[in-house]
Symmetry: C2
Subunit: 326 residues, 2 copies
């Protein structure tokens, strides 16, 4: 900036005023300075700017890692931010495996006082919101709490999945649930039980087990379920990862999907369409969730009065991993 000032023959203060379009600079000076800025390719330093003015027109989206789930959200957010006058900054603390819990608090502390005007946090655990700074949570571990939240209807989606299996004639339906500390996992299990109850089908507790939402842990659970003497004819997995893992295990045990076993997942990650057979699953509108979260954040900053909890509908996506019983 001082380069620009020197070249244009003015002070840095004047350059700053020109950059920010403040009143009190002669028209001729404005043009001259802008010319020099253009020539030198000057661009304000984000760091210094925010340090002083606490306003950057940059919104943050904080994720533990850039995996399929969060990158889909990112796409949606990116589409929404275009033309809003904001820029988007995605930040990952990069501690592999999200090993260090509390990443969301630390990242937020690092970026909030400075750098960004507001943030979308993906699947946060604990969240104490510093006041005067706006935060939107997407799919938080604990379900909608005090924070403005965007999530999808996990309960209804689980009912959808279970009813689909029931409609195919399955009665002996197993469930591989997610991590018990996650609200979404609890809701999916609850939806499963509700649908079973409504259909007057008793749930056999021996075929409802924790799979933990991860490939390896789900594989263990699937193997246990499938080696029972009266194994389930269909399995509702808590997420697509678990479902895919279940199909692998089934194959390795000599079972073919969907002939010997129907499997349905949850999430509709891109991979679910690529596996063999393509996975029937419940879609969460991830991109739309990202877009809604960003819109909500922008509105909050602008002071718009609105509903601060958005729940988006889930949908059944029928592919080829389920088949009528018998």
């Amino acid at each position: 900036m001082s380069d620009v000032a020197r070249t244009a023959g003015v002070s840095v203060a004047t350059v700053s005023k020109v950059v920010n379009g403040r009143y009190g600079v002669a028209q001729a000076t404005v043009e001259r300075v802008q010319q020099v800025i253009h020539e030198l390719g000057y661009e304000a330093s984000l760091g210094a700017q925010s340090l002083r003015s606490h306003r950057t027109n940059v919104l943050g989206i904080l994720v533990a890692e850039f995996e399929p789930f969060s990158t889909e959200l990112l796409k949606g957010a990116s589409r929404e931010v275009a033309g809003s006058g904001y820029q988007l900054l995605a930040y990952s603390s990069g501690d592999g495996e999200g090993a260090a819990i509390g990443w969301e608090r630390r990242s937020l502390a690092r970026l909030s006082g400075t750098l960004i005007d507001g943030a979308v946090i993906v699947t946060p655990t604990v969240i104490e919101t510093k006041q005067g700074f706006h935060v939107v949570a997407v799919d938080p571990h604990t379900g909608p709490s005090g924070l403005p939240t965007v999530d999808s209807d996990n309960f209804a989606g689980a009912v959808l999945a279970t009813n689909y299996l029931l409609s195919l004639g399955h009665r002996r339906i197993g469930h591989i649930s997610g991590r018990p500390d996650l609200e979404s996992a609890r809701l999916r299990e609850a939806g499963f039980r509700k649908a079973m109850a409504d259909a007057d089908v008793a749930v056999d507790e021996r075929i409802v087990r924790v799979g933990g939402f991860r490939t390896e842990s789900a594989a263990g659970t699937a193997a246990a379920l499938l080696s029972l003497p009266d194994r389930p004819t269909a399995i509702f997995a808590g997420n697509d990862l678990s479902a895919i893992s279940t199909m692998d295990v089934a194959r390795s045990m000599g079972l073919t999907v969907p002939d010997d076993l129907s499997v349905i997942g949850f999430d509709n990650v891109p991979e679910s369409a690529l596996v063999n057979p393509p996975l029937t699953t419940i879609m969460q509108p991830l991109q739309r969730m990202g877009a809604e979260a960003l819109r909500l954040l922008i509105d909050l900053i602008a002071g718009v009065e609105r509903d601060t909890h958005i729940r988006l509908p889930t949908e059944l996506v029928v592919r080829a991993s389920c088949r009528p019983y018998r």
Copy 2:
């Protein structure tokens, strides 16, 4: 930070030393300060930190938008950054459509003096590298120039695609090329011509036309090609978007793919597996490109001597959009 200093009964200078593990602080003091830091949940402000020290342990990845191409790169980069001691910050200028060219220069200027220690830039056009600051380009418009670069073997991939169509017996093969200002598009066309020449098949210039890599423009080109009296029996599209667009146009003209027309794409974006029929295409290892770019950047910063141009192999992915001629 001054809060921490006051609570711990020391000066901010001492706190800074503790945070950065500098020598010259008594063991007892270190422990007391760390205790207070933990209690107050203090985290250094990225902005102020970089402003002063020009070292943040944060690497940037600059993209025009978060679309499938760049988010795949991002996944790869994210995996690579884990455990490296760096954090990852993805930045998008957010001018929809990349309308404003020069976004890469402006974003870089905004973040480089401060905030990030180095950057990966995705599909940049012009790039003047400020010295003392490390930049890696992924798939640059102009091909490998002075900058350290990661790209995939577009030429060999195009040869692969063309040879596949030839091996199916097609002779009348059309090509919908990309934007002429992109090196990758030029290389793909060149590969196409090379393969045709090697097979002693003449290229009919009327069925080689610019499609521009975008859905709408490619649709126009496809429509023109397919309404020729002697339309091609197979089309090699410059990228998957163009290929998908071509299939749509073919369908709307009453042609079925692959029976009446074979189509092959390039990129292997996730969407290509989801369309009907699933698209046969050439895979670029996007995630691996992201990972390689990040590794290269880290090495450059560390001063490791190494090759600064990485070209990754492409691969044929056979799905269902091509069929033998006759």
